[in-house]
């Protein structure tokens, strides 16, 4: 029952899985072959992702958005389990296309920088490829059952990657913590999703997990009826927090953020890159797709207080990052802080802020992958991440220092780099506020709620500059301890390619944001028009 099938997206999704199987079939000693297979597989998906990214037709998307339709490009739509309305439906819109590109970039660079990994290489790469496939699945899924399937699928290799190859000191604790947090969050979100499935089915008579059908039901007002008869709480209002925060756990929203720094730190470098760079975006993306886009009335009722949690994320994460002694924890908490900006962008509920959030997802993904790559390279050489014992590494690994400083500048919003083109619209959008009055009247009657949040969020950017400069000073500048770190090897060619590739995108997007903004905007527009902004 093929409805449409272009095959590109299915190709992106299945390539890593096939490669994982091939790698497991290889002999135990053939580590190099395993690496080559992994790099070729993800490299191939990177090319496909680039093709999708540059082939995406923004005009068509905008036309569909203006007409009030959903729009997905490169659709693969095959009927699957018809009895419960599940289909193999993949597609990309303006928000997910950059995410797919981000995943392939982080995955490709992750394979490159773990080239030197000698401990059970085949298994590591197989799990890694499976993880990447899971992430692809979430970003590509149009059918929400498929989305959920891959959401869970990506957690399981993550657990093993951390427990087996992680930092011996905390890996068991961190892996368990991460899995529990994310699983509980996803179960809550799943219950919300099932509610939507049945509500939409009752209203329209079509029981389907397909986003397009659910979206049509939402437009027809299926979720705006009272959930319990006799109560005035609508389905949207009641279930929005469950779905948004359930997925939001993976986006590190306060106070459910603590799995993330522990997980980032315990994970091996390549996994941290995917973990902080892409996995957290998966949470934010799902919260946006399932939560905000299907339940606009719920978003309008609840985002005005959730924005406050996001603000806490930004400032709180930055302050804690400032006080860390462990190099990797600094970056871990910086992710908590920066993901707050994504949530802040969603909460603006206007095109400017949400486009900024989309840019921030991409920018932060590349930036934090770069950060973790740098941390890993320093750790591999110093065998410590204790900040006061490091110093002077600019002389030993200059490219790593350059990359880290560039990433730092991105994270503090330096104009000319991608962080600025992401953060500036978020803050402008936040200052502007949503196109309607937030629900509780006191929010706007007494003072400028959104404007105040914007000013306070700016505080986070100042603190970001402080902790980045502190870390740069402690790790890369200052005096190098020759006695403690006598033999430092230079970084490999693979490392250089990975760093260069990531840096290239940060600069490219900063100088030429029009590469991505129209696309993200075309994905954001339908959401904002449903929000009435």
């Amino acid at each position: 029952m093929v409805i449409t099938f272009s095959g590109v997206l299915t190709g992106i999704l299945l390539t890593p899985i096939v490669a994982a199987v091939i790698i497991l079939l290889l002999k135990d000693e053939s580590k190099e072959q395993a690496r080559i297979v992994a790099a070729l597989a993800i490299g191939f998906t990177l090319l496909l992702a680039l093709g999708v990214f540059f082939g995406y037709n923004v005009d068509e998307a905008n036309a569909a958005a203006d007409a009030g339709d959903t729009y997905f490009a490169y659709e693969d739509h095959v009927k699957w389990i018809e009895s419960i309305g599940v289909s193999w439906h993949l597609g990309v819109d303006g928000i997910s296309a950059p995410m797919v590109l981000l995943t392939s970039l982080a995955g490709f660079c992750g394979v490159l920088i773990s080239w030197g990994m000698e401990d059970r290489t085949r298994e590591f790469l197989a799990f890694f490829l499976l993880l990447v496939a899971g992430v692809y699945g979430v970003f590509l899924a149009v059918d929400l059952f498929v989305l959920f399937f891959f959401y869970e699928l990506s957690i399981f290799p993550m657990y093993f990657l951390i427990v087996i190859w992680g930092w011996a000191k905390t890996r068991e604790y961190a892996a368990m913590k991460l899995t529990l947090y994310i699983l509980i969050g996803s179960v809550v979100a799943l219950i919300g999703l099932l509610v939507l499935y049945f509500k939409a089915g009752q209203a329209t008579g079509v029981y389907s997990f397909d986003f397009v059908d659910l979206h049509a039901a939402a437009q027809a007002g299926a979720f705006d009826t009272p959930f319990f008869s006799g109560s005035d709480a609508t389905t949207a209002r009641l279930w929005f927090p469950a779905i948004f925060l359930g997925f939001g756990v993976l986006a590190g929203i306060w106070p459910f953020h603590n799995w993330s720094p522990d997980g980032h730190v315990a994970a091996p470098t390549a996994v941290s890159m995917i973990h902080a760079g892409v996995l957290m975006k998966m949470g934010a993306f799902s919260a946006l797709r399932v939560g905000v886009q299907l339940l606009p009335e719920g978003a309008k009722a609840h985002l005005p207080w959730i924005v406050f949690l996001a603000l806490i994320n930004v400032v709180y994460g930055a302050l804690i990052a400032f006080r860390q002694r462990d190099f990797k924890y600094v970056i871990g908490f910086s992710s908590v802080s920066h993901m707050g900006l994504v949530s802040l962008g969603f909460a603006t509920m206007n095109v400017t802020g949400m486009t900024g959030a989309g840019l921030q997802m991409f920018s932060h993904g590349v930036m934090t992958a770069l950060f973790f790559a740098c941390v890993g390279m320093v750790y591999d050489r110093a065998h410590t991440r204790d900040l006061p014992s490091l110093g002077g590494f600019v002389h030993k690994v200059p490219l790593v220092a350059t990359a880290f400083i560039l990433g730092g500048l991105v994270s503090m919003g330096m104009p000319g780099l991608s962080g600025f083109v992401a953060e500036f619209p978020v803050l402008v959008g936040l200052w502007k506020g949503p196109g309607f009055l937030p629900d509780p009247g006191w929010l706007t009657s007494t003072f400028n709620y959104y404007g105040t949040i914007a000013l306070l969020a700016v505080l986070g950017i100042i603190i970001t500059a402080a902790y980045i400069l502190r870390v740069v000073g402690q790790v890369f500048f200052g005096v190098y301890n020759e006695e403690r770190f006598p033999h430092v090897t230079p970084i490999t060619l693979y490392d250089k390619i990975a760093l260069g590739l990531l840096m290239f995108w940060l600069v490219l997007l900063g100088v030429y944001p029009r590469l991505m903004t129209p696309m993200i905007e075309s994905g954001v527009k339908p959401i904002v028009s449903m929000l009435g902004g």
């Binding site: 913590k177 302050l319 804690i320 006080r323 400017t352 000319g416 083109v421 200052g478 944001p513 029009r514």
Partner: protein, 752 residues
């Protein structure tokens, strides 16, 4: 699209492009080669300078028809978000053209100087890469046609200042100073960004042409109530923008970074203090003046909120920093405080509406301050040599060990003016050019550029005072007092450095074998054996001294373009600057009536300050260990009489100068600057650190406590419950029996 890049509309893109290109090439390709990097950097800045000159001439020619109405520029879309489009564009109007006269030339001079100064540095290429980026960012800022692009240049400069102040990053104090500069200015930057964002939301544009040249837009901003703190939107935006300048241009209370910024190499100090960084802050408020003064009729004494803030902050800073400069012994720190003070003049000038005067002083100051810093660099280089010699031979060693980290009152021995003296003979060219720069700074009447611009500011403040505006009176009083102090500390610095006899062995051996001597060059030309035989060193001498001469020329002559038309004799020059610059504003600023009184006051203050300095340090230069040779020669009788003639000297010394120095050093530096301001800044910082720590604890104890507590509770419950499963059949049977009994009892109660 067919673009003629040499068209005046597009040429500005090339001006800013070339230094940025140099940066890219150096960082990516030539970092390994010192010579290549220098060539690339020099080419970039030279091309930028040449193109700027071409652009400037085009503007002047175009202005002949109707002055200033012809504005060149072009824009491209940069980022579109919904209905909002952010654009990038360049604009050359008379104000920009005037800046183009200064910025590339000052940069070029500093680049040439750096060739010599950074000669021995192992990271030479990196240095030239960074300063190319610095120059490119400043040109981006100056040429921008909108606030967003200006802000990009602004922030990139902040980055460059961080990289360059901390250039010698192995020195802890240098790195700390870089961070301090970056963080302090960033506080202002972020507030400014908030202002930029707010402006964008109100007007939907950031273009100067759409905002500043459109009275309707300004009118609308004035009539919109602001979102915070009451007042109008225009006032809030203006105040936020001024905050940016307070950080960038080092005004009170965000001034503390600039004196420490001298931790960077001296050409960097010249770059920061003159051509780029701090000038950018003032340039921004000069550029945005129509917005800052919107809704206020300042010609009739009605000042807008941003103007009042500028008047108060600028005026206070001018005086405060001048007092501080008097109490410094570090040659670069004296200059740093003087920069803060002079920037205060410009900001205060804008506060009372002296727009043209502020721009005029900005450019003049850049010329003479770059000159002064580069001279001080030569002095320090030469003293370093002397200190090294003295240390090798065990003559009076440096009094303090170099501290670990940034210490406020530590003076590096080669920078200490008290350890100098008599350097005139070693460094004649430097001494003369530095005297020219110093006279310009002090506002020596008629022949220096500094006099004309400073006089114009004071005249405008005087004009306002005669009209009875309290703000103008305040500005007049503080600026006049500061002018007196400026002249005095300039004289003190120069005489202590160059005059008299060397006071230490280091000064005695200063510059020995060093490159800076025309005599060597002259000897070389006449094929006589020179003192220094390395031919490279002769080149260095040229590289470091030619820029001094060029800037010395400008420190004198850059002022004649702005002489008031009613000034006797020199007025015939016609004051082209005022007419030219006025074209930038919609409403031409009126030329105030010429008044002798403020001019005479300016002259008196400058000469008075210089005279006091001369009497105290010039007539009787400070001697080594205070053994005065005159006393021995004349005998005690005459000496006593002479002494009595100098009662006035003594009185000044005892009752004016010493208390003043005491106030400056003890109270202002130690108590206010170090304890109060740094104390406040430190306690704010500590507050944040404390908060971070508290959050960290909270995060571990409460949030993780709950997060870990629930699983632990479940686990504990499980292990407690496990005890039930003992494996003894008897116990199981007992439980089953008990349960059956209870259920049976309940059943009976229900039924019965």
């Amino acid at each position: 699209m067919d673009i003629n890049w040499f068209d005046a509309d597009y040429l500005p893109w090339l001006i800013l492009f070339f230094p940025l290109l140099s940066f890219g090439i150096i960082v990516l390709f030539t970092a390994h080669s010192r010579i290549l990097s220098q060539v690339v950097a020099m080419t970039g800045v030279c091309v930028a300078w040449l193109l700027s000159m071409i652009e400037f001439i085009k503007v002047v020619w175009a202005s002949d028809a109707e002055l200033g109405k012809e504005v060149f520029g072009s824009t491209v879309d940069w980022m579109t978000l919904g209905v909002s489009t952010f654009k990038m564009g360049v604009l050359v109007d008379p104000l920009t053209a005037y800046m183009l006269l200064m910025v590339p030339l000052a940069c070029l001079a500093i680049f040439v100087y750096s060739l010599g100064y950074m000669r021995g540095d192992p990271h030479n290429s990196r240095f030239f890469g960074y300063i190319s980026l610095f120059a490119g960012a400043m040109l981006t800022l100056v040429l921008a046609d909108n606030l967003l692009m200006l802000f990009i240049g602004w922030e990139v400069m902040g980055l460059c200042s961080y990289l360059l102040i901390g250039f010698w990053s192995h020195k802890k104090s240098a790195y700390q100073a870089g961070v301090k500069a970056f963080m302090t200015t960033r506080v202002g930057d972020v507030l400014m960004l908030a202002g930029v964002g707010y402006l964008f939301l109100e007007t939907r544009t950031l273009s100067f042409r759409d905002i500043l040249y459109d009275e309707a837009v300004l009118e609308k901003l004035v009539n919109t109530p602001s979102v915070l703190f009451g007042g109008s939107a225009a006032a809030l935006i203006g105040v936020l923008l001024v905050m940016g300048t307070i950080g960038k241009s080092s005004q009170f209370p965000l001034h503390a970074w600039l004196p420490d910024a001298m931790e960077g190499p001296t050409p960097v100090s010249a770059m920061i203090h003159a051509a780029t960084m701090v000038s950018a802050g003032v340039y921004m408020v000069v550029r945005m003046f129509p917005l800052l003064s919107a809704g206020a009729d300042f010609h009739n004494g009605d000042f807008s909120t941003p103007m009042i803030i500028m008047g108060l902050v600028g005026g206070f800073t001018a005086l405060f920093a001048a007092v501080l400069a008097v109490g410094q012994n570090d040659i670069k720190r004296i200059l740093a405080y003087s920069t803060i003070s002079q920037l205060g003049y410009m900001v205060a000038a804008l506060g009372v509406g002296a727009w043209v005067a502020a721009a005029f002083h900005l450019v003049n100051h850049a010329f003479f301050k770059a000159l002064l810093f580069m001279c001080s660099g030569v002095v320090i280089h030469s003293m370093e040599h002397g200190e090294q010699h003295a240390a090798e031979h065990g003559h009076d060693p440096a009094p303090h060990a170099e501290p670990d980290g940034l210490v406020m009152d530590y003076v590096a021995p080669p920078n200490d003016v008290l350890r100098m003296g008599g350097l005139f003979r070693k460094l004649p060219i430097t001494a003369i050019t530095m005297a020219i720069g110093g006279l310009s700074l002090a506002g020596f009447p008629l022949i220096t550029a500094g006099f004309w611009s400073k006089d114009e500011i004071i005249s405008e403040a005087w004009h306002g005072t005669t009209e009875g505006y309290p703000l103008a009176l305040f500005v007049l009083l503080v600026l006049a007092t500061a002018a007196l102090l400026t002249a005095f500390y300039t004289a003190r610095m120069w005489f202590l450095t160059f005059w008299g006899k060397p006071r230490t062995a280091a000064a005695e051996h200063a510059g020995e074998g060093s490159q800076v001597s025309w005599r060597n060059l002259w000897a070389r030309l006449r094929r006589r054996p020179a003192k220094a035989t390395d031919p490279g060193e002769q080149l260095t001498a040229l590289q470091m001294e030619i820029p001094l001469l060029v800037l010395a020329f400008l420190a004198i002559f850059a002022g004649f373009i702005g002489v008031h038309t009613d000034f006797p004799l020199l007025g015939d020059l016609d004051n082209p600057l005022h007419e030219f610059l006025s074209g930038t504003l919609i409403e031409h600023p009126p030329v105030i009536d010429f008044d002798w009184l403020p001019v005479l006051v300016s002259v008196a203050l400058a000469l008075g300050g210089l005279a006091v300095g001369f009497v105290l340090y010039g007539i009787r230069p400070l001697a080594k260990a205070q053994v005065d040779p005159t006393e021995r020669a004349l005998g005690p009788g005459i000496w006593q009489a002479l002494q009595n003639r100098f009662y006035i000297d003594m009185l000044i010394r005892r009752y004016v100068l010493r208390p003043a120095e005491h106030v400056a050093r003890k109270i202002v530096i130690e108590d206010i600057d170090k304890d109060t301001i740094d104390g406040v800044l430190e306690s704010v910082a500590e507050g944040f650190i404390w908060l971070g720590e508290a959050f960290k604890r909270f995060n571990t104890v409460v949030i993780d406590g709950v997060g870990d507590g629930i699983p632990r509770a479940i686990g504990d419950f499980g292990s407690w419950f496990r005890q039930v499963q003992t494996g003894r059949i008897q116990q199981y049977l007992l439980v089953v029996t008990l349960a059956l009994l209870i259920i049976g009892a309940l059943f009976l109660i229900q039924v019965g």
